[in-house]
Symmetry: C2
Subunit: 463 residues, 2 copies
């Protein structure tokens, strides 16, 4: 069945790629002030593009850091309003000498478009814009109300996003977020991301004496802060890597039958996953690795230090040791309660005469979850099934996505990630690429999902 | 019974203290080039003093660093030759604002002479020089042959002592060393130091993956270098602090009945020892703490680090962790064998898939020991018993003394420490002091020990 909008998009592929290449040539590195011109150029480019395709109220939204580019089309009364998220900033290109072709000179090799930002996330951002452009060009209207929000600080951790939302709460208000960032989980099967683990963290200091002691004078007589720290950290996991903290996972929602089935159906090669990074597996062997990293909580020490760490030797008995811990929480868990359980474990395992002080115990962010019948999920499922002929697998991310958490927390909006990049595209490394085959897939899928979303009542998006 | 030499010394106490004060005013800090003039002044002062009291061949011995001051009197044929050791350099005076009176303005308060270097070790060095001076002045001769060796680098770890000995081996050759450094162990009972623990050290790196991993993507699936390091370090001691390394103490000489009796007789308040530094006890509770820190080996982690140690958080799974370990070995132990036992323990406890690399495993220095019937010990025992009316207690140091090890290793000479400072005099800290009561004690003891040593055949000093 012919679809004039999709036909229009596919016929314009060369122009779209030229546009994408123009954007990729702008070195919009948000982390480094030396790239300020590249950032400004990318903002101008996107502002002009949004205006050209028929967006209104095109403007820069300034939260105190790198401004975001905004534009809307709000002429579908009674229909849902979607905030379409993308970002125009990219990771720094270093180390430059490891790029086969320069990072800001887009080059096609073997069906892959190499450039910094091609996969993360200028490619998918352009796809989203072009989908709306063709809907307006061919049909004169969009099936839903659209607000483009193209951030400039994603790669630096969105430091001013909260203050930006405070300032522009009304401008950004929508029923839900459809994100061009966060891509496909697999090249082999269609996937829909239905959530992410939450996080929390804490930092603590352990003390065994008033100051460092001479190991000749005191060695054999006193507690050593590093020995005590090692015993405490070692007590957090068993020898196979299971977390041993009492109550660590008691409040997690047990994975549903569908989640476990989808996790099992997801193509995931444990050995290859480890081998790729030279790692060895750890964790409860009774639970599949893919399930452990997406549906279960985990605890990692991110940093640990104490005593003399310079060159050569210094024969001291250190009196102080430090550790930073991060926690990933599963759906249903209260991240503060989990952190408190870790604190209680450390205090219970700390011997008499050793003092512990907690420098930071965060409130954390809970896991984010899209219910399987959420309109965003239903719309994506319909489109992906139609396009691929396969039932999409629901997947969850092991890492939380800050912007998703912030939109949910500050504005109550759920987010569906609908980008078309793939996990093997080296997004924060040299030779980042975006598969050219993903471009027509995205151009076909985006107008369809906007149409599917139009079938829902605006109120149906709020869970 | 009157002793003209001792009478002469005691009658000259005011002059001796004035001389000591002159030396204390010279800021001879070896660690800091800004104090080069103070170092030169102290060398000039001591060279002139040795010449003035009748020493011959007075010269500076240059090993490539701070030169030592040397002078000899070798007119006692057939009698033993003793190298009399002292040092003229002092620790840096920082933090200056914690001194009640300036560090290089000697001041008496409450029977204590406050100045940087008063206790460590200009006071005892001047006592040794004055004892020889009075013997020569009153009797016209010394009972034994004397070689003064006054070092200028003790406080920086004697970095050029080995090359200095290589260059001046004949000049420094003697039957034994009598040191003004290394003092009394107790104000309450006379003590003789009969040895020190030896040392060794190692450093290692543990790796779990090719690089740090994202804790969201890999958390729950892989080994974390800091968890593995914690498990390894925790495995080195049991929960009471006993070393659990197989073979760690198998080659140690069991303490003799006399050593255990002396250790028990030594006034040592375990609770006060710990409380003074805010520490908690650890170690085998079946063995007295004083015995643990002097007669038994020990193992301490001096530094441990890995992952992110900066401000805030970084949610990585670290792939690398590092640790530095120092070992103190007891009499009889081969320090290399003990370090190898620790390496073997770490390798045996390292799980598959985790790699260990040892960046440094030292050869170490064995414990030093003076036999209870060594001429140095017998001479000291006779003098201290006569002076105090109490049988001296043999003690051993928990820390090794580098110069003692070097003299033994390179020249086969044993050392007796016969300084008169006390352990509660804050030698590397602000408000260092030397008790004035120690001055006449030293002035009485030194001529007597030189006479006692004259009773032994020169060959009797080599064990």
């Amino acid at each position: 069945m012919s679809d004039p909008v999709i036909d229009h998009l596919l016929s314009r592929q060369d122009d779209i790629l030229q546009d994408l290449n123009a954007l990729l040539r702008m070195p919009s590195v948000s982390a480094d002030p030396a790239f300020a011109q590249g950032m400004a150029d990318a903002r101008d480019f996107l502002s002009e593009k949004l205006t050209a395709i028929g967006m209104e109220n095109v403007q820069l939204l300034d939260g105190g850091g790198q401004p975001a580019v905004y534009g809307d089309w709000l002429h579908a009364p009674g229909k849902p309003t979607l905030l379409v998220y993308g970002h125009y900033d990219v990771q720094p290109p270093d180390p430059l000498d490891q790029w086969v072709t320069p990072p800001f000179e887009p080059t096609v090799r073997d069906g892959k478009l190499y450039a910094r930002g091609a996969s993360d996330v200028k490619g998918s951002t352009i796809i989203a814009i072009e989908a709306v452009a063709s809907l307006l060009a061919v049909e004169g209207r969009c099936p839903i109300n659209i607000k483009f929000f193209l951030e400039g600080e994603e790669e630096t951790g969105s430091p001013s996003l909260r203050s930006l939302i405070e300032r522009y709460r009304d401008v950004l208000s929508a029923d839900a977020v459809l994100s061009a960032d966060g891509g496909r989980a697999s090249r082999e099967v269609p996937t829909i991301n239905t959530g992410a683990r939450g996080t929390n963290g804490l930092e603590f200091t352990l003390r065994t004496a008033d100051g460092d002691l001479h190991s000749g004078r005191y060695g054999g007589a006193v507690r050593n802060a590093l020995h005590e720290m090692a015993m405490l950290i070692a007590s957090l996991h068993d020898s196979e890597g299971r977390v041993t903290v009492s109550g660590f996972d008691t409040d997690m929602e047990q994975p549903s039958a569908r989640q476990r089935a989808d996790t099992a159906a997801f193509p995931f090669d444990e050995a290859a996953f480890l081998q790729e990074v030279g790692a060895t597996g750890a964790g409860d062997p009774a639970i599949a690795m893919r399930e452990r990293i997406t549906l279960r909580p985990c605890l990692d020490v991110n940093g640990m230090w104490g005593g003399y760490t310079g060159a050569g030797s210094k024969t001291i008995i250190p009196s102080e040791a430090h550790a930073k811990i991060s926690i990933r929480v599963a759906a249903g868990q209260d991240p503060k309660r989990v952190a408190d359980a870790v604190v209680a474990h450390l205090e219970a395992h700390c011997p008499e005469g050793v003092s512990l002080s907690f420098d930071r115990v965060g409130a954390g962010s809970p896991a984010s979850t899209l219910a399987p019948d959420h309109p965003l999920v239903q719309a994506a499922e319909t489109v992906l099934l139609r396009e691929s002929g396969k039932q999409p697998i629901h997947v969850r991310l092991g890492a939380s996505v800050p912007i998703t958490s912030i939109f949910k927390e500050m504005m109550g909006m759920d987010t569906l990630m609908f980008g078309f990049n793939l996990p093997d595209e080296p997004v924060h490394a040299p030779n980042e690429f975006f598969r050219l085959e993903s471009v027509p897939m995205g151009l076909r899928a985006w107008p369809q999902i906007l149409r599917e979303l139009a079938a829902f009542e605006p109120g149906a998006f709020r869970s």
